[in-house]
């Protein structure tokens, strides 16, 4: 594509006159190119890091009692005896063609491709991430905008305190607390603690607990699970993740808007008699997108690449768990593919954030 553009530029225009490419398109192409370069570098790091792991698949599966001959035979079968450089290029070459390779767990006659191992897990992870994002991002933006609008009020302080509290706990702790609350629905009334409380208090706590829906504390999903059932079972992990990521995004939204509120054009909007809500939404927010979007992208990436702990707590079959299992069994192709998917997610989301930042800046979008 780039070559085509260069060719067009070369045959049409005389030297010194450059084609006017839309600056936004140019920047996007540049970032995309940079993203690919980054991905390439990351692939090298991933490969070397895994190559440095002690032990290999052959030793891990055959166990300690295996003879050197059987280990060598298995190593030869899955290609582990080739030099690392050769293995890297054959891996990255296939990867570039969309071939993720086969898992080491394949046997002759029973080939398991990495793609078919990862695909359902990736779907689950994406499902959870999208579901969480759909709730968490609007919630964070809304709370951030309201907190900026009513800054230093009790509402602002409450939102800040609550979100700070949830972010201060490790995510597994939040997860266990939530699970505990769900379980307490049924058990609270029988506990010693409940009996030591005055009756009215115990009853109202029990009533409050029973208002909470009885979310499943184990999010076991299979590919046969119907859509809404999937949503229902993933609810608790999703709530946990929401509590973890809202604080970041909300605080950045608030800070970015408040930062804008000291601009002269905000004074102007006030002097034009605009209502505070209009000032925040129409005059401050459009200029505050860049920092907000960056933090949102960062948190969305976390939803895909960083949720392994939450997956483990709720036994949710996502990519994170798959990767941990693959590392344990030294199933290198799966580990590498997972790592590369994670890296690509990060790069892609940041690219999108960059593009949104540019698209919301009229100076770049509408040059003089």
């Amino acid at each position: 594509m780039l070559a085509k553009r260069a060719a067009r530029a070369a045959d049409g225009a005389p030297l010194g006159i450059r084609m006017r490419v839309n600056p936004v398109a140019k920047t996007v192409l540049q970032r995309l190119g940079l993203g690919l370069v980054t991905l390439f570098i990351v692939s090298i790091i991933i490969f070397s890091a895994i190559a440095m792991l002690p032990g290999d698949f052959a030793k891990a599966t055959l166990g300690q009692s295996a003879t050197p001959e059987t280990v060598a035979a298995l190593q030869h079968e899955i290609g582990l005896d080739r030099p690392p450089i050769q293995r890297y290029f054959s891996w990255i070459g296939k990867m570039a063609q969309g071939d993720f390779g086969s898992s080491f767990a394949s046997r002759t006659g029973y080939r398991r491709t990495v793609a078919e191992i990862i695909a359902p897990r990736l779907y689950n992870t994406m499902f959870l991430a999208v579901m969480t994002a759909l709730v968490a991002v609007p919630l964070a933006l809304g709370l951030g905008i309201l907190a900026a609008l009513y800054r230093n009020s009790w509402f602002d302080r409450l939102v800040n305190t609550v979100t700070l509290t949830t972010i201060s706990f490790p995510e597994f702790f939040v997860a266990y607390i939530l699970a505990f609350l769900i379980i307490s629905r049924d058990t609270f009334a029988g506990t010693q603690f409940a009996q030591s409380l005055p009756v009215w208090l115990a009853v109202s706590i029990n009533w409050t607990l029973n208002v909470v829906p009885k979310f499943p504390t184990l999010a076991n999903i299979s590919d046969q699970t119907p859509f809404w059932e999937h949503v229902w079972r993933a609810a608790l992990p999703s709530i946990t993740l929401t509590l973890v990521i809202v604080a970041h995004m909300m605080r950045m939204t608030r800070a970015a808007i408040i930062n804008m509120l000291s601009s002269p054009y905000i004074d102007m909007a006030r002097l034009k008699g605009m209502r505070p809500m209009v000032i925040v939404l129409r005059h401050a927010l459009p200029n505050a997108w860049a920092p907000i979007v960056t933090v949102v992208a960062f948190n969305l990436a976390y939803l895909i690449v960083g949720v392994v702990v939450v997956e483990v707590v709720f036994v949710y079959p996502g990519v994170g768990q798959l990767m941990v299992d693959a590392v344990k069994s030294r199933d290198v192709p799966v580990v590498q593919a997972c790592a590369l998917v994670f890296a690509a997610t990060y790069i892609l989301l940041n690219l999108i954030a960059d593009i949104i930042s540019i698209a919301t800046n009229p100076r770049l979008l509408h040059p003089r």
């Binding site: 004074d267 102007m268 006030r270 002097l271 034009k272 605009m274 209009v278 459009p286 009229p362």
Partner: protein, 551 residues
């Protein structure tokens, strides 16, 4: 209403009455008074000029007339009666309804006061639509009409541009259109032309004056420039330290000011230096062309000679390339072609190829000392740095030299352990001068060094620069847009326009007619104290325009 554009304007009933206004501002952990008991009244259709130096509280009063205090300020006492109702005691919601619709504001720097995210038209009609005064369509067509009245180019389409896509003068007029959108009874103009070039200023002033007359709008016109306020205001109020010094009709105020302070403001700058011709040149710029990012040429084939121990004033408007010239001489922006020679030896074009000693001999002072001084370094550290870097002075020698330099810039040694933030604007600029002097330079480039300073402080700074030139024989390249400054200090003048030298020569040759066409435009655009100056100038230009069109 349209045919009321004559000179005699109908003055109506009282519109605004400010009584005993007190405003405080918060800084350094405490509240300081900014405005201390100001009274002011304004009739419908009347223009009141507020004039004073920086810190006089004139902008604060302008805003307080809208019942508004900037963040960090508060109105502590007094009343602001607008059309009989006190703006200060009414609810915020009622104030909001008045703002924009009946009282509007035009700010100094339109580039910062327009929202960069929205098109001009959307911002112009916002108030009218939000206050339910007009439908969107009606407001749009009215805005286009206002753009046309304010003589903006392409009035139908300019509204679809973003603020960064139009020039400063156009933006200032668009802001006036925005203020006019609801046909307010009162507009507060806060230094609306201060950030503009003189030639642009004339056009904006004429546009503002015409539209204010057309709609018989009352206005408060805040400025520090007497000649400007003389063109715009019916009545002038002089302020100092947040208090009224005196108030009178414009003509009376100009001819017979009652107070001593007013007279010092009025006195046209007395500084004037007789020029001296020299043929010994310290710097000679020959056919220099320079460009940013290898594209747009900002200097084209410029040749300038700087006589030794004298001052060359480089005048021109923004975008004329005068600051680029400074960057080329210092080597920050290496010229693409041409040559520069310094003290009869060729000067490498790029900063990187110059020896430390060459760097020492050419120093520079910038317009804004706030950005040129490190806010975390004390005055002593700032001045000591070039002493150590260029001359390797240490210990007692260094301290003695610092004391000498402080004496040269007429400042007490007690200032040495202060931070720039604790100094006034004029003092900071002196520190910048001392830092330049510390290197024992032969040439100092002064880039608009006095334009951010008040009139009186400017004069002190210029006197100091001239004294140092006499005593130390330093040559100056003095970049400015202010003709009065040129009269005060220059030996030779270079007029620049669009990257080219229009005219150069001895000061008297350039400043007395006949001029080159652009020099004529530039000189005639400098406002004069005569309240009829603008009217006369516009009439003369119109006649010339007709004459040239006919011929």
């Amino acid at each position: 209403m349209k045919n009321s554009s004559g000179t005699a304007r109908e003055k109506g009933t009282d519109l605004l009455k400010v009584r005993n206004l007190h405003v405080e501002g918060f800084s350094d952990e405490r509240w300081h008074p900014i405005v201390r008991g100001v009274d002011l009244s304004l009739k419908r259709g009347e223009v009141l000029g507020l004039i004073g130096e920086s810190g006089a509280g004139k902008s604060t009063i302008g805003l307080a007339a809208m019942g508004y205090a900037k963040p960090g300020c508060r109105i502590t006492q007094g009343s602001v009666l607008f059309d009989g109702v006190d703006l200060l005691s009414m609810t915020e919601a009622r104030r909001r309804r008045l703002r924009g619709s009946r009282i509007a504001y035009v700010a100094q720097s339109a580039a910062a006061w327009f929202n960069p995210a929205h098109r001009l038209l959307d911002q112009t009609v916002e108030t009218a639509v939000a206050h339910g005064i007009a439908s969107r369509d009606k407001a749009n067509s009215d805005a286009i009409d206002l753009y046309r009245r304010l003589q903006l180019p392409e009035p139908e389409s300019i509204g679809f541009r973003y603020p960064h896509q139009v020039s400063g003068g156009q933006l200032q007029r668009a802001m006036t259109a925005m203020a006019m959108a609801c046909r307010p009874d009162l507009i507060v103009f806060d230094e609306p032309t201060t950030a503009l070039d003189v030639t642009t200023q004339v056009e904006v002033l004429a546009s503002i004056r015409r539209i204010v007359e057309d709609f018989n709008t009352a206005a408060i016109y805040v400025t520090h420039d007497l000649a400007v306020v003389a063109q715009m205001a019916d009545r002038i109020m002089v302020l100092r330290h947040g208090q009224t010094v005196e108030e009178a009709d414009t003509r009376q105020m100009l001819t017979a000011p009652a107070q001593e302070y007013t007279r010092t403001l009025w006195a046209v700058r007395k500084l004037a230096k007789p020029e001296i011709q020299t043929h010994d040149h310290i710097l000679s710029i020959d056919n220099v062309t320079a460009a940013y990012a290898g594209r747009v040429k900002v200097l084209v084939d410029v040749s300038i000679k700087v006589p030794r121990g004298r001052t060359v004033a480089v005048v021109g408007e923004s975008g004329s390339g005068k600051s680029t010239l400074a960057r080329v001489v210092t080597g920050l922006l290496p010229a693409i072609s041409g040559s520069i020679s310094f003290d009869a030896k060729p000067l490498p074009l790029s900063l990187k190829e110059r020896s430390k000693d060459l760097l020492r001999r050419i120093q520079m002072i910038y317009q804004s000392p706030d950005s040129a001084l490190n806010p975390r370094q004390t005055v002593e550290e700032i001045i000591a740095r070039p002493l150590e870097f260029y001359l390797g002075l240490k210990g007692q020698q260094r301290d003695r030299r610092i004391a000498e330099l402080m004496h040269m810039i007429e400042m007490d040694e007690g200032f040495l352990d202060r931070l720039p933030g604790e100094l006034s604007g004029g003092q900071k600029q002196r520190i910048c001068l001392a830092r330049a002097l510390a290197a024992n330079p032969e040439l100092i480039i002064c880039d608009e060094v006095t334009s951010a300073l008040d009139q009186i402080v400017q004069e002190e700074m210029l006197t100091l620069l001239m004294r140092l030139q006499r005593e130390l024989g330093i040559s100056y390249i003095f970049i400015t847009h202010d003709i009065a400054t040129v009269r005060a200090i220059a030996d030779e003048v270079v007029v620049m326009h669009q990257g080219k030298v229009v005219e150069q020569g001895l000061k008297t040759e350039i400043l007395t007619p006949p001029h080159a066409a652009y020099t004529e435009l530039l000189l005639s655009s400098v406002p004069e104290m005569d309240p009829d100056w603008l009217t006369t100038l516009l009439a003369r230009r119109k006649n010339q325009g007709i004459a040239s069109a006919a011929g």
